[in-house]
Amino acid sequence: MNFELSIRIGGQAGDGALTIGNIIAKAFSRYGLFISTYKDFPSQIREIHTNYTLRACSEKKYSRPSKLDFLFAFDKESILYHQHELKKNGIIITEQKISEVDFRNDAKVYRVPFFDLSVDNFKKHIFKNTIALGVFSEFLEIDEKEFKNIFEERYKRKGEEILNTNIKAFDLGKNFIKEKFGNTEKIKFPPKKKNESILISGNEICAISAIYSGCRFYAGYPITPATEILEFLAKFMPKFEGVVIQVEDEIAAINSAIGAGIAGLRAMTASSGPGISLMTEGLSYAGMTETPVVIVDSQRAGPSTGMPTKFEQSDLFHAVFGGHGDIPRAVIAPSHPEEIFEFTNIAFNLAEKYQIPVFLLLDQFISQNLFTIKIPEIEKYRVERGKFAEETNKNFKRFELSEKGISNRTFIGLPDTLFHITGVEHREDGSITTYASLRKKMMDKRLLKLKYLKEELPQPLVIGQGENVIVTWGSSRLPVEEILPELENTRMVVIRGIYPFKDNLKEILKSNKIICVEQNAQGQLSFIIEKWTGKEVIKVLKYNGRPFYPEEIIEKIRKIL
């Protein structure tokens, strides 16, 4: 049986949609379902409608659901904006106070006085979401323990009283619904599965992988949707004796990371649009000085401040082409929560092996939402430092010309081994020069590295078979993958190692019809695909800040094929 359940919780910021959504997500995830969540939150702290969507499937499906089984509506907007997304005869659980609103005719509406129940019983309105959870549990066939266990973990630390109040609130909701509406029809669940899965966000996976991959220096500046990387590392890096500092801006962040990279540490910084743009000069410096540094870009809707809490994939052009001069670099983009651990590890290895800045492109959807994944098989991934060795060398030449363009590296402070690093053109020993022929040699050296790097870059992922090609990247893969079985004669190609451009692109994309699904306004990957295939690409774009629903894509593609 293919089980699938989609829930949206809407309310004003502060109503607690996030809390209850996370509890449901965790409960279902532990039950053995695959969860993906979607937070549609404003870039403002209070008083604006927000909503949280949760999808639970018996199979791995991670894209945003377009049709809902349940809608929790704590405010009027929740009904106005979202009830049209309910499935036929879907269920609405809503605050009784909400008036002057027309409910969809087919919807099963349960109006509950969450606010009053909470205030009457607990003197505070904040338990209304727990009450709602109790209500919700009455519609499910699973044991209420699945939720209550989570309460225990969550509230234990905060004291017995809070825990008990929450449990009381939960029961209150449960009983209210029974008393008022009698026995509701219950949703059948597949049998519970023992599993080792975790419910985690992309930012957190990235942070853990960084630690595993030997990152020991992180400098950053808060920015949505990348902040959690800073926050996670600030908390856990000290255990691994690494350094995490929040600095005065992103320029300081990248230059600090570069400083650590020069010194011989594995270093990283993470940001989003505005911060990434500020790092441009540093990027160019890292390329010129052949300094390994990993730059995570959790993309959000741009340009400029754009929509800080919203999704987009529009920094590809910048990652590939941004910055003055001819800069060696790599750009990779995981396309799935399950790839983030691996790709973060790859980013660090490529950065050190090729001594370049590496962009790891994430996006708001994959960065901030929660997904059920298996704990990665970490032993599969290694720290590969390339030509890095603790070897004293009186004639150390940091930029020695070599066959593949890669020179020996070590850390600064090795006896008798002197470093000279400069963003100015330099000789093999790092001293400044403007000699024409040497300049050319050094430039060739730096760019030569890309030739070899290209081979090692993650391969495109090809799924399915067929004449037609849908090419995509980043988390756009998730909805495309979901609709793929419904399309005839079509294969999906996910570009994951974006730059340097792979030689096999033309071959892999061979087709009469190339459709590119990506989520930005200019068709940034499409441009590159057109360049490499010499073919016009049919672009399927979205850029309103919300990730594609699978259905939207299929509709558009049906029109094309």
């Binding site: 230059n255 850390f411 963003g423």
Partner: protein, 288 residues
């Protein structure tokens, strides 16, 4: 090893004859030699400008950064390997224009580095535009009708921002400069020195002679116990058209390394990158 100043010099500097920056280089080499610091244990991190070229002239480790970014890079290097003597060096444009916020944040963070600003009150390398320390009214290539802004003073700003070692030197007095650098290098924390370092080519106003008439040497770090007094003296002198040179303030505070490095014995760069698998699993288990 024979610790002579010349072992720290890489090539003949390309500065104009008479440039104040020669004195800074000379003083640094002397201090290195005096303290018998092996070249590989020193890292000079420099900015962009004539002053920033110093990193190309030393036979120590050197990192020539971007314009204004000496301090983030220097701080990171020091944290990565506290066994190094890390010395930041740049110009007044580098430190007080584009890099000013890094400067002030470094003062409050107190990383264990020495920071030398070669203050010639002009943009040397770009051939003579005004800098934040240029005097009001000064005619430069970008202010043909005179500078229109009040100048700022690095020493005052450092004092106000919590710096733990604040000094001013003068390129006309290598001996004093050497003494200051010597103390700075031994200071535990952020040691800042503004060096009045005349640009003989593009600043014909603030010349050696001009400074000589205006410099008042401070013999003791007289503000050592009293920051407000140090601030007042410096300010009064400036208002009076005089420059106090010497160590103006010195104090002890916990340093950035104290606060941020768990293990101060083994530098981070010398530690392996391996982690225990269980430790990583523990991180994942948080999300169970």
């Amino acid at each position: 090893m024979n610790y002579e100043p010349k072992i720290y010099e890489a090539k003949k500097p390309g500065w104009c004859p008479g440039c104040g920056d020669f004195a800074v280089l000379a003083a640094l080499k002397q201090v290195f030699a005096k303290n018998k610091i092996p070249p590989w244990q020193i890292t000079i991190v420099s900015g962009i400008g004539c002053s920033g070229k110093i990193s190309d002239y030393v036979a120590t480790n050197s990192v020539h950064t971007l314009h204004g970014r000496v301090l983030p890079v220097a701080t990171a290097i020091k944290l990565s390997n506290p066994e190094l003597y890390v010395i930041g060096a740049g110009g007044d444009g580098d430190a007080y224009a584009i890099g000013l916020f890094h400067f002030i944040h470094s003062c409050r963070r107190n990383p264990e580095i020495t920071y030398i600003v070669m203050n010639n009150q002009i943009y040397g390398l770009t051939k003579g535009q005004f800098s934040p320390t240029s005097s009001k009214g000064f005619v430069t290539t970008s202010t043909p009708y005179g500078v229109q802004e009040e100048s700022i003073d690095g020493v005052l700003l450092a004092l106000e921002s919590g710096a733990t070692f604040v000094a001013r030197g003068f390129s006309g007095d290598v001996k004093q400069l050497t003494e200051i650098f010597d103390k700075a290098l031994k200071h535990k924390g952020f040691a800042f020195i503004d060096v009045l370092s005349p640009c003989v080519t593009f600043n014909r106003f603030n010349t050696y002679d001009w400074f000589r008439k205006r410099i008042v040497k401070v013999e003791e770090p007289f503000g050592i116990r009293h920051l407000p007094r140090a601030i007042r003296f410096v300010r009064e002198a400036l208002e009076d058209g005089r420059f106090l040179t010497g160590i103006i303030f010195e104090t002890k505070k916990s340093t950035l390394s104290d606060l941020i490095l768990k293990d101060k014995k083994v530098p981070l760069v010398k530690k392996g990158l391996e982690v225990k698998k269980e430790d990583i699993l523990d991180l994942f288990y948080i999300f169970k």
